[in-house]
Amino acid sequence: MSGNTNSEHAGVVKTLRPYHVWALGVGIVLVGEYMGWNFTVAKGGILGSLFALLVAGTMFVMVSLCASELGSSTKLAGGPYDWARLFVGPGAAALVGLAVYMEFIALEAADAIVVASITNSIFPEIQTFPVTLLIIAFLTFMNYRGVVAALNLNFALTFTALIAIIVFFFANITGFAGTWHPEYLISGAMPNGFIGIFAALQFGPWFYLGIEGAAMCAEECKHPTRAIPLGQQAGMITLLLGSGMTLYLCSGLIPAAELGTSVYPLFEAATATGSKFLIAALGIGTLFTCLASANGTVCDASRSWFALSRDKFLTNWFADVHPRYSTPYRAVIFTMPIAIAFAFSGFLDQVITFSITSGLICYVMIPFSLIRFRKLFPEHSKKVRPFVGPLQPTIAYITIFLAIVIMSTLNWGYSYNLIFGLLFYVIAYFYFSWRYKSIEISHDWGEDLGWPEPAHRR
């Protein structure tokens, strides 16, 4: 959905409403409640996981407010890439475009690994890796053919998976499904002390990673100034709701030692209740969210790659649109080898770590773009800034601080991943800054966005 191309979006019908924005954001992210978040338990126990949920939740609430303001103001589909391009500079734009690409590709690989693991647990004779490849190939093909119908299906899948969590939660607290064990919490409260609690922050973003993607459909919204803030906040509330319920259920139904290494913790929690209905519902929910998320990520990652190519940060070869299906098919196909390379590692936590590192780069750049935006265009007019986010730019600064703190916690256990990730993005920044110098691109605020010149040029 984040295709921000003139060619692709020319004549696009602006039909999306707030619930579409909600569904796009939650569709990609809800998988984070079904798997991945539980690595916080391995690091810091139940208290570490709760700490990560609260700190990362606070950061994402603020990211989402920044994204709401930027998305409803620019009304462009490139999301973080376009915000950095407009308000920070070409090097930062390319960096964010690449980070979004990597964040979503790694997420796709993680989703495919989980679906393959579930298949393997149901049919032990089937190998995991071939199934992972098959899923990646299938989703690439679906996106090659066009994704409108697939995204509509995503909405239904996501809603089903969300309802499964809510039903499970209320069934458990009312005593209808399983016994919640306080002793599981006590035995796994904080196995690695205070450092473990702090280290758990590194997997905290997985509860909410990618919610900023909801603002990427701004260009296709009927009323983006209403749909983006409303859909984005509703999406954020949904994820907070889901994350709290998930932590409660899994911490009391699965011993902490098992929970910390589980590939699909919610499904295992349902299995622990012995309720056939819940086992089926959460099993289906896990599969649905993985597929919905992987499908959405192929879509967003390919559009980000396509945008980089169209703006000549990459070879223009990737900017071709399919004559029949109107999809950026070369960029879509190119997601496949990268996702396979991630999946080939086979280590879910490693893949998730790279996705989180890439996401955190975005969570530094999004609030920074907002700070720059407010400096360049201080006026609160309905043309420039129809939605004025609260407590800004204070919360933008706090967001940057929290993102850097969370990133620093990757030093515990994933220091090489962190160093490699940062080195990769530093090199990318300088490469794209150098490459952009040789490209003549003029920018006219009035023509592009209907805005006045920035404050410093007047």
Binding site: T58, M190, L230
Partner: protein, 87 residues
């Protein structure tokens, strides 16, 4: 000509949905926070040291989200006629 009755009715629907999910979120977050803290309070003495940090982030999370929702509501109310939100 804008139908003001319809606009106010639709605005109330938007607000109603957000208040509903916000209420559910307040319930679940505080319930989960209370259950985990009360379960571990006596068993993990170190918890007393870091409890204020947990409480601070819980309040920040709920507070900023609520302020965000109120701001969204005010923004929609302010611009609904300018942008014909409910036509």
């Amino acid at each position: 000509m804008v139908n003001k009755i319809k606009y106010h009715s639709d605005l109330k629907k938007d607000a109603g949905i957000i208040v509903l999910v916000l209420g559910l979120m307040f319930f679940s977050e505080t319930f989960v926070f209370y259950k985990i803290m009360s379960t571990l309070w006596d068993a993990v003495p170190e918890l007393r040291t870091i409890f204020p940090v947990y409480l601070l982030f819980l309040l920040l999370l709920l507070g900023i989200e609520t302020i965000g929702c109120i701001t969204v509501y005010k923004s929609i109310k302010e611009h609904m006629y300018d942008f014909n939100y409910y036509d």
